[in-house]
Point group: C2
Chain length 283, copies 2
C-alpha cells in the first residue's frame, strides 16, 4: 500500500525502515542558518516538529523522551543543583528538569533559537518553565560552551541532541565527553540520547567506550519506548566519574511533587534492565 | 518524502501511523481460505510475513515477541507441563515453549495451515521444534478447540493471534476467556498478545475487565519493544485464577539451558513495570 501526500514520512534509509504519521496540513516550514524546520498538524499525534527530515517530537508521545532524558539522571544524582542541557531547544527537557525542586539553575544551550521560538508557538505546553527564574536559555554552540565551562561546576549534563550526523556529530566524540567530564563535579552525571538498541548498537557501544576513555568510570544505558523514532525503541546513556549509577533516590521519586505520565520508580529500575544481546555487547 | 515501490508499508489507519520496511522483492503471495499471506525479502530485516496487510513477523525482530509471549508466563507458572498455543502458526512461540524442559506436551492450534507451511519455508529457524515429540500441530479453530477442551487439563494457554479484527476477534471476548478459565488448572496461566500501550489502551483495559469477569482473579500486562508492530511498543497480558503473577522462578531463569536474545530475569521484572498512565487506567 502506498502513502498519499496526507502523510509525513521519515525514511531512515540506512536501517531500511520508515515511519509515517497522517497529517492534516503543514503549518510551517523554514530554513534556519543551521537546519530546515517543519511543523505539521497530524491526525492523531497532535503537532509534529521535523528537523532536516527527521521527526523530533510530537504532542502525543514526547512525554516518554522528555521524562526519560531528565528524571532518571536527576534522581540518580544525590543533589542536582546545577543542570546543563545541550540541545533541547523545544524546552521539554528544561521543563522536566525544573520540576525538580533541588535544581537551582538550569541552562539550555541550543545552537538554533528558531527551534525554541517555534516550540513556544506550537508546543506551548512544553515551554511553561521558560520564564522560571532558575532557567537560562542560551543560543550558542554547545560544544564550545562546554569547552569554556568552569571545571567542577555542573551536577548534571543532559545531551538532548539530534542524531550523530551534521551539527550534532561533535556531541558524540571523546573530545566532547572529556570537556563534560571536566565541567562536571566529581559526583556529576552526564546523560545523552543514544539512539535505538535494535538498530544502533554500532553507536551505543562506541559511546560507552568513548565515555570511559574520556574519564567516566561508570556508564549505563537505559531503555524506553519512543514511537516516532526509528524502531519505536530508544535509549539514553548515562556516565559518571564517582556515582556508580546503581542507587536511585527512591523515596524522593515516590514523594515527588510533580506528575509524570510514564516515569515512576518501577519504570526507572525497569529502564536499567539490559536485554541479553545488549549485555553481550556492552559487558 | 514519499516511498517508492521498493517499500512494504503497513498503514494502521485508525491510529494515524504507518510503518515501512525497504524490500528487495516479494517472494510469495497467496489467498488462503482465511486470509491473504505475503512474504517479502527485506533489505535489513530478513524475511517479512504479512497477513491481510499487517506485518506479522520479520527475521530480525521476531525474537522480542516470541520470547516475551512464552518465557514470562512459563517462568511464572510453578510447573508448566501442558501448554496450548492458540494461533502462533509461524511456530516461533512453539519453539520457545519447547525450550523449557518442564514442558511435556505443547499443542499449537492455528486455523490456517498455510501460515505454518510458509513459515517452514521462509523462517525455517523458527520451525526447528516442529518435529519435537512433545509438539502437536493442529490446524483447527482455536475458539472451538478451547470450548471442547477438558476442564482442569492445561497449565499455560498462549494466545498468539492477529489483531482483534476478523478471525481473531473471538479471541478477545469474555466467552473465550471463560472457556480458557475452565480448561486451565487452578494454578494455570493464560497470556495473550495485547497490542500497543501507547495506541490501544482501549483494547488493553477491556481485556483486563473481560478476563476478570471470566473468572481470572489476577491480571497483569507486560511491556516490550516490537519494532514492526504499530508504535514499536507492544504488550502481552497474563491472567490466572490462583497464581498471583508476582512470583517468578528466578533461579530457573538464571540456570536455564537455552539461549535468549532479549529475555532474562531483569527483563522479565522490567516488563512488569507499568508507566503512570497505564497504572491510572488499569488500577
Amino acid at each position: 500500500m502506498s502513502l498519499s501526500e496526507q502523510w509525513f514520512t521519515e525514511i531512515a534509509e540506512n536501517t531500511g525502515t520508515a515511519f509515517s504519521l497522517k497529517i492534516h496540513s503543514k503549518l510551517h516550514e523554514e530554513q534556519t542558518p543551521y537546519q530546515k524546520i517543519e511543523i505539521y498538524d497530524t491526525e492523531q499525534f497532535g503537532k509534529l516538529m521535523v528537523i532536516d527530515g527527521c521527526t523530533m517530537l510530537s504532542t502525543r508521545d514526547n512525554f516518554l523522551y522528555h521524562e526519560m532524558m531528565s528524571h532518571p539522571a536527576l534522581f540518580t544524582h544525590t543533589k542536582p543543583s546545577n543542570v546543563v542541557i545541550i540541545g533541547g531547544g523545544d524546552c521539554g527537557t528544561l521543563q522536566a528538569v525544573l520540576q525538580h525542586s533541588e535544581v537551582e539553575q538550569a541552562w539550555q544551550i541550543d545552537i538554533d533559537e528558531r527551534v525554541t521560538r517555534l516550540s513556544e508557538q506550537y508546543f506551548p505546553e512544553l515551554c511553561t518553565a521558560n520564564n522560571d527564574s532558575r532557567a537560562q536559555l542560551l543560543f550558542a554552540d554547545g560544544i564550545q560552551w562546554m569547552k569554556d565551562a568552569d571545571s567542577n561546576s555542573i551536577d548534571v549534563i543532559i545531551v538532548d541532541s539530534t542524531d550523530p550526523v551534521g551539527p550534532a556529530a561533535g556531541l558524540f566524540t571523546q573530545a566532547f565527553y572529556r570537556d563534560c567530564a571536566s565541567a562536571l563535579r566529581a559526583d556529576g552525571i552526564i546523560v545523552q540520547q543514544s539512539e535505538s538498541p535494535l538498530l544502533h548498537m554500532d553507536i551505543i557501544k562506541p559511546m560507552h567506550t568513548s565515555m570511559r576513555k574520556a574519564g567516566f568510570r561508570h556508564t549505563r544505558t537505559l531503555n524506553f519506548p519512543q514511537c516516532i523514532y526509528p524502531s519505536g525503541w530508544w535509549s539514553c546513556t548515562m556516565a559518571s566519574k564517582e556515582n556508580t549509577l546503581e542507587q536511585i533516590r527512591a523515596d524522593d521519586i515516590t514523594q515527588r511533587d510533580f506528575a509524570s505520565k510514564y516515569y515512576n520508580e518501577e519504570i526507572h529500575r525497569a529502564a536499567m534492565a539490559l536485554p541479553e544481546f545488549m549485555k553481550a555487547q556492552l559487558d
